[in-house]
């Protein structure tokens, strides 16, 4: 190493040191500490007693845990499929320039940037059994249901409201990712496919989709990664939809508090998350 290189290395470490210290202390260390905590009976005031793997046994024999897993799976399935499809549709629709595209773009990005806490109230009002537009539309106008119902109050239907909310909020991200790839597909390919006799639908399946394969996989993986730990969007809109993060939150901070059990849940969840991240790193980032 030349002195110059050594100076550069020293400067590099100096600059990145605060970041490493903060992230190490408040993310990496807590993740490991969490594993430690999962073997203890942990009280809210910080007192702990070692219980071995009892938390895990308790967790795996808890039927609520399995129902939380089922809810989370449905949530992930609904949001991943919905967001990807809507994002794709938006990208195809808005690909070519037209008058007012900038405005349309700003309008559809708004759900993504808006604070969850303020938009959930708008959604709650829309689905309100007495004043809400949704009930008005489906019951009074279209007559699809026989009577007004509280869609957010009932956990089964609330799950789908929460899924729709997530699609509404995160399709813009999928749209941006897909669009940036879509605009790079060359016109020649479409012309060649047209000469081969493919119509618009054939061209979509033979040109567009293969080109987008990679970016669609990216979108799916990122949705899985972010939505596995999604808390606010679900809890604030419909606290009765118990996905895993909400299940953990209830264990840790409400009712009969069992932070050790919550820690055990988080450990398992981190394991699953790591698999998703590993896929993302291997297949998308190609490290």
């Amino acid at each position: 190493m030349t002195p110059l290189e050594r100076a550069e290395a020293r400067f590099g470490w100096k600059l990145v040191a605060p970041t490493i210290a903060i992230l190490g202390l408040l993310i990496l260390y807590p993740l490991m500490y969490n594993v430690y905590l999962s073997f203890f009976d942990v009280q809210l005031n910080g007192s702990k007693t070692f219980v071995g793997i009892e938390n895990y046994i308790k967790l795996l024999s808890n039927s609520d845990y399995y129902s939380a897993i089922a809810t989370t799976s449905l949530y992930l399935l609904g949001t991943v499929v919905g967001t990807t499809l809507l994002g794709l549709a938006m990208a195809l629709l808005l690909r070519d320039p037209f008058m007012g595209r900038g405005l349309v773009n700003a309008a559809i990005m708004l759900p993504y940037v808006a604070p969850v806490i303020s938009v959930v109230f708008g959604w709650q009002f829309l689905f309100d059994p007495i004043s809400g537009v949704v009930n008005y539309l489906f019951v009074d106008l279209l007559g699809l249901w026989s009577e007004r119902s509280n869609l957010i109050g009932d956990p089964d239907s609330a799950l789908w409201v929460v899924v729709l909310f997530d699609i509404w909020k995160h399709a813009p991200i999928a749209y941006l990712l897909i669009l940036s790839k879509l605009v790079s597909v060359s016109r020649d390919q479409y012309e060649a496919a047209a000469i081969d006799g493919y119509g618009p639908i054939g061209r979509f399946f033979h040109v567009t989709l293969p080109e987008l394969y990679f970016v669609l996989a990216t979108v799916v993986l990122l949705r899985l990664i972010w939505n596995l730990n999604r808390f606010e969007d679900v809890y604030l809109l419909a606290p009765n939809v118990e996905t895993l993060p909400i299940f953990t939150y209830y264990q840790a901070f409400t009712g009969v508090i069992d932070q050790g059990l919550a820690a055990a849940t988080s450990v398992i969840q981190l394991g699953v998350l790591s698999i998703f991240i590993w896929f993302y790193i291997k297949k998308i980032m190609k490290w």
Binding site: L26, L37, L92, F121, L126, S180, W226, A263, S266, I277
Partner: protein, 320 residues
Amino acid sequence: MLGKKTIKGRIGFAIAILLLVSFSLLPFAQILSTSLKHQYDWGNPSLIPQSINLDAYKELLGLTEAEKVEIPAAIQKILNNPKLSADKKQAIAAKYTANDNLFPFGKYMLNSVIFSVGAASFSLVFSVMGAYSISRLRFKGQVVIQRSILFVYMVGGVLLMVPLYQMAMNVGLASSLWGSAFCLFLIYIVQTLPVGMYMLGNYFRGIPFALEEAAMMDGCSRKEAIIKVVLPLSLPMLATVFIYCFIIGWNEYLFASVFLKQYPEFHTLPLALQELFVSKNAIWDRIMAASMLTLAPIVICFLFASRFMKGGKTDGGVKG
């Protein structure tokens, strides 16, 4: 591509755009509309209020004149009791006449501003330093750091709530008001720092090294080259990262509820709004007006930042 040349195609296209924009904007329109409606008008599905009602906004922004509240007769009796000290009398009277602190929106907004602007500023400084280091300087371990950043970037707050709370408990911070606030502040920095590092790292890589080299040949040190060349070139991106971090802090609910729930005077807007919603003071127009006012700074920031957000933003997928 979608056969926009025919009339039919054009109409179909216009309808699709209209549906898409309505879907995106309907909840916002609903919030705005309800915030302006009188109570008798809530059940009316039309988005246009029959008459505009600004009371909720006035009340939240503290523009209503304090109403004189009648002290109930029973309380008046107690107050007339000569045995009571003057201090106590005043305290009781104050309790029964106070009507201005139903929902101190201004205070919550200020709390939110302090937390999110403060955390975003710290985050920006650290991420400029860190991002420059991992994107520009060569040293051992650089790649490992870069990859770890991506990993921690994707770890959600939910997985950290129990250990962070317990850590705060162990060092005794979680049991005091300022300690809790300090913890939350640190957590907001941690939540935004990886995002900032990630966005800035990608951006710095795109700035030609020759520019810094030229500055250094002119006698600048590396530090001066960063301050005089790299940072001015990155201003739009710095603004974007700052706004992005600000938005994350502004929107955060989970940790605010874990650390600050028992300290109402330090509540941030998301926490305060949620508490308002579940309290007996929940009135739709007030909630909607509060939502609108929470939304406004973000929309303004976004309109400002979207000019800069064209490139770079989608690299690798932003948080969300």
